[in-house]
């Protein structure tokens, strides 16, 4: 029996947005912690730490996210955990976000002038205080725009979790599309919902970058 594409179906798809948002938030929160560690390792004085961070970034930026998801998914089975799309998608997206945020934030940390590092050292601040009170607060102002831009990438990336069976917006759309045979309406709705999530963030990101550039160029 073919279902009608009616209000119930529209509500079902729209409610699936919360799983996309939730997965994006998990990936972003985990990725932020990992990204900060990667960024600090990347600018560290120790060359092995630097090398390790570079390798991590290269691998995750140089392989498809889909393969990272598959490896997390099948890797869990190998390590003896029950296969669960939530965990697999979260793990893969957290690592993916950590690599990208690490690279973005490295740039932000490096764009804080050397004099700031040196001055902090001269007044006797140790590594943690130097980063915590001098470098990171300045770097974070530069980072807001690009980080918001990456959040858009991450929301879009969560759509791939549908391929390993995670029911978020894209997969909810597929399920309804298969039941109603209205692919045009369903996929357009799904695209419109992604657009409604991402477009304001994109606008915000470019607005903040523009404002920051105006404030710092003279």
């Amino acid at each position: 029996m073919i279902r009608e594409f009616g209000p119930n179906e529209i509500i079902y798809i729209t409610l699936a947005v919360r799983y996309t948002v939730l997965l994006s938030l998990i990936a972003f929160a985990g990725g932020a912690v990992g990204g900060l560690i990667i960024a600090l390792m990347r600018v560290s004085q120790n060359k092995y730490r630097r090398w390790l961070a570079v390798a991590f970034i290269r691998v995750f930026q140089g392989t498809p996210l889909l393969m990272q998801l598959f490896l997390a998914y099948f890797g869990m089975a190998i390590m003896g955990f029950p296969i669960d799309p939530w965990t697999a998608a979260s793990v893969a997206l957290v690592l993916h976000a950590a690599a990208f945020l690490g690279e973005i934030w490295r740039g932000c940390i490096e764009s804080v002038p050397d004099g700031q590092h040196e001055a902090a050292r001269v007044v006797g601040l140790g590594y943690i205080n130097r980063m915590r009170y001098v470098v990171l607060p300045q770097a974070s102002r530069i980072a807001v725009g690009p980080t918001t831009g990456f959040l858009v990438q991450l929301i879009k990336a969560t759509s791939l979790a549908s391929i390993i069976g995670f029911t978020e917006l894209t997969r909810a759309g597929q399920i309804i599309s298969n039941a109603t045979f209205e692919p045009f309406m369903v996929i357009s709705l799904v695209a419109a919902l992604y657009f409604a999530l991402c477009w304001p963030l994109s606008k915000l990101a470019s607005h903040m970058e523009h404002k920051f550039n105006q404030a710092t160029t003279r």
């Binding site: 691998v59 791939l160 692919p183 996929i187 695209a191």
Partner: protein
């Protein structure tokens, strides 16, 4: 402890190499057509009439704010509802081209905008004719400006193209899916496939860096 078994994967390595070649082929064709689209888009966006500029902006915003996977589903599953029926490979190529075009338009536009007006006036003053100005003063610096962004966009395109295997288009990821369902060595298959994608992206960025070094190695004041 899990016993890794790579023997069946390397036994069918030829199929994976064919898949890798298909991925490179599809990405390259998509990039070339997408580049033409980008140049048209950039010209339209900088000097087209208002409705054209508006339409191009709508296109860019829609593509950049929706996932590639949804775009792919649109071309494969939704277009037949409008009477346009495409095979998996055609739909995949179309989706890649349309996606690349949106990012490429912005890259090309920014590159052309980076050529200063003063440079063109200076070229006229020192007596360069139109073709010389176009070639040495506008195109070469513009190409140099967009080259890094364009090449990294190509690598991004190649990695993103792995997604087309879900609509059963043929590429490296699809070759992996086939092999996985024959051998049941899922993890081993995807480890090898991932390594192959990694090797391809490293190789391409190496080659692009080399080309960039020789093609654009004239001194610049900036």
């Amino acid at each position: 402890m899990y016993d890794f078994n790579f023997a069946p994967v390397f036994g069918s390595f030829d199929a994976l190499l064919v898949g890798a070649w298909l991925t490179i082929q599809m990405s390259t064709i998509a990039m070339i057509i997408g580049l033409v689209l980008s140049i048209l888009g950039a010209v339209g966006k900088t000097s087209g009439p208002k409705p054209v500029r508006f339409a191009i902006n709508v296109y860019i915003e829609i593509i950049r704010n929706t996932p590639f996977l949804v775009q792919l589903y649109f071309f494969f599953f939704a277009l037949p509802a409008l009477g346009v029926r495409l095979g998996p490979n055609q739909a995949a190529l179309l989706a890649l081209v349309v996606n690349f075009g949106a990012y490429g338009t912005e890259i090309v536009r920014a590159g052309v905008a980076s050529v200063g007006k003063g440079n063109i006036e200076a070229a006229k003053t020192v007596g360069l004719n139109f073709t010389q100005t176009l070639r040495y003063v506008i195109l070469k610096p513009a190409l140099r400006a967009i080259y890094p962004a364009l090449t990294s966009q190509f690598i991004y395109l190649m990695l993103a193209s792995s997604v087309v295997s879900v609509i059963s288009a043929t590429d490296l990821a699809a070759a992996g899916n086939d092999l996985q369902s024959q051998t049941f060595a899922s993890f081993e298959v995807y480890i090898v496939i991932t390594a192959m994608y990694f090797a391809m992206s490293l190789a391409f960025s190496g080659v692009f860096a080399l080309i960039g070094k020789y093609a654009f190695s004239y001194p610049m004041s900036r």
